[in-house]
Point group: C2
């Protein structure tokens, strides 16, 4: 439970998030895929195509045991049980249910706003590909938020159990948020994400493939990924077993 290793993992998955956003942006926004009752999908006429795809994908993932992993929190309720045993190393986390820290609703809302910025307006008819790539992007983002929420919080806690314990005992969420916040680290992340988004697209032939604006990715990190990760850290600490440091 070394903070340096945890932040290295968070850094390593930045490229994956950028890749998946770029792939989604090859399609138009296709707003109809987010509208309830417009899916044309038999048996699910009250849902949007996006919601149906996410449910189907997570039903599959659940059977493969994805949600046994702490940082893989589902967007969808009532999923089937795993059909294989997932052997996990000792997590070191001190929480009864990982779903105490489930920020998927806010991730989903933030992502929906992102898509409107990221993609060209309008409709290209590529609904199946759009929702497919929505799911890939959402899962990568959710993994980042939840991994950070759980492991950053625990590792910071064990580095200063007295300070955190006192705030936990006082149920002082904003105190915890203050203690967790490192503006300099956040600025470093934003700068790195910008550089990566630029570099990854440096050789794109813009006549044949769409590039995305690095500002949009940076803003999404600043306004969604980072604040939700910190919100998740606070949630984790307020629900930590033996929260007073024992």
């Amino acid at each position: 439970m070394q903070l340096s290793e945890i932040t290295e993992h968070l850094e390593a998955i930045e490229e994956t998030i950028v890749f998946k956003l770029i792939d989604r942006a090859q399609y138009r926004e296709n707003a109809v895929i987010y509208q309830s009752g417009k899916s044309g999908f038999s048996g699910w006429l009250d849902k949007s195509l996006f919601e149906i795809r996410l449910r189907y994908h997570e039903e599959m993932d659940a059977q493969f045991g994805r949600f046994c992993v702490p940082e893989e929190r589902p967007f969808t309720p009532e999923l089937p049980l795993p059909r294989r045993k997932v052997l996990l190393p000792e997590t070191g986390l001190a929480i009864d249910s990982y779903d105490t820290v489930n920020l998927t609703e806010e991730i989903s809302a933030g992502y929906r706003r992102l898509v409107a910025e990221l993609c060209v307006d309008g409709d290209d008819g590529q609904y199946g590909s759009s929702v497919e790539h929505d799911v890939y992007a959402l899962q990568a983002i959710a993994r980042r938020v939840h991994y950070g929420s759980l492991y950053v919080a625990e590792s910071k806690f064990i580095s200063a159990p007295q300070c955190f314990g006192a705030l936990i005992d006082a149920r002082d969420g904003s105190g915890l948020l203050g203690l967790l916040t490192r503006k300099d680290v956040e600025e470093k992340i934003l700068m790195r994400v910008r550089e990566k988004t630029v570099a990854v697209q440096a050789t794109v032939n813009s006549a044949v493939r769409r590039s995305i604006d690095p500002d949009i990715v940076v803003e999404f990190y600043r306004d969604c990924i980072i604040p939700l990760t910190k919100k998740g850290e606070v949630l984790y600490l307020l629900n930590r077993k033996a929260g007073n440091g024992i």
Copy 2:
């Protein structure tokens, strides 16, 4: 049916293939996921975890109508019917069944060899993530091969129906292969794929994230993607309706 537009689309999806290979390479080879009878997945004990994941994923995709699209050919037989109507623009293709040009078996075998080169040897226990990314990579590769097979072949045919028609009438597969082959174009693709693989990874922090060797991607294009695309083009032409150009 302009060859220039078709090759632009093939160029545009090169990045997507590179992204997905890089994401897969963040996990070890995990050879056990390709071994039959080692999945630990209830109900499918004779298959490999990879085969089971691919089947589940394609069963989902089939219900969303993916395989109504000409270039989306399934790896798995006996898939469920679509649960939504997929509206396609006129394809311009002249073939009775798109599955006449289905190279998934060879794509799968080539991909399996690629994984052994691409990934670090050994086992990291990340079986679920590995097969998940295998499916993403395989589908991107298969889309490239089948799109090229169908549309490049048709567009070349209509640009020279007499030449192609004579070879088709003579059932001359190797003559067709010769007529379709443009070594200079292939060299350009290989050079571009190398440049992209380098550029996309230019800012990777190698202390936290694995990079892949551009040579491996280039070889995969040279030994698998390009020859299979040409094989698919020949298959298309030999099965073209009114193959003599009428």
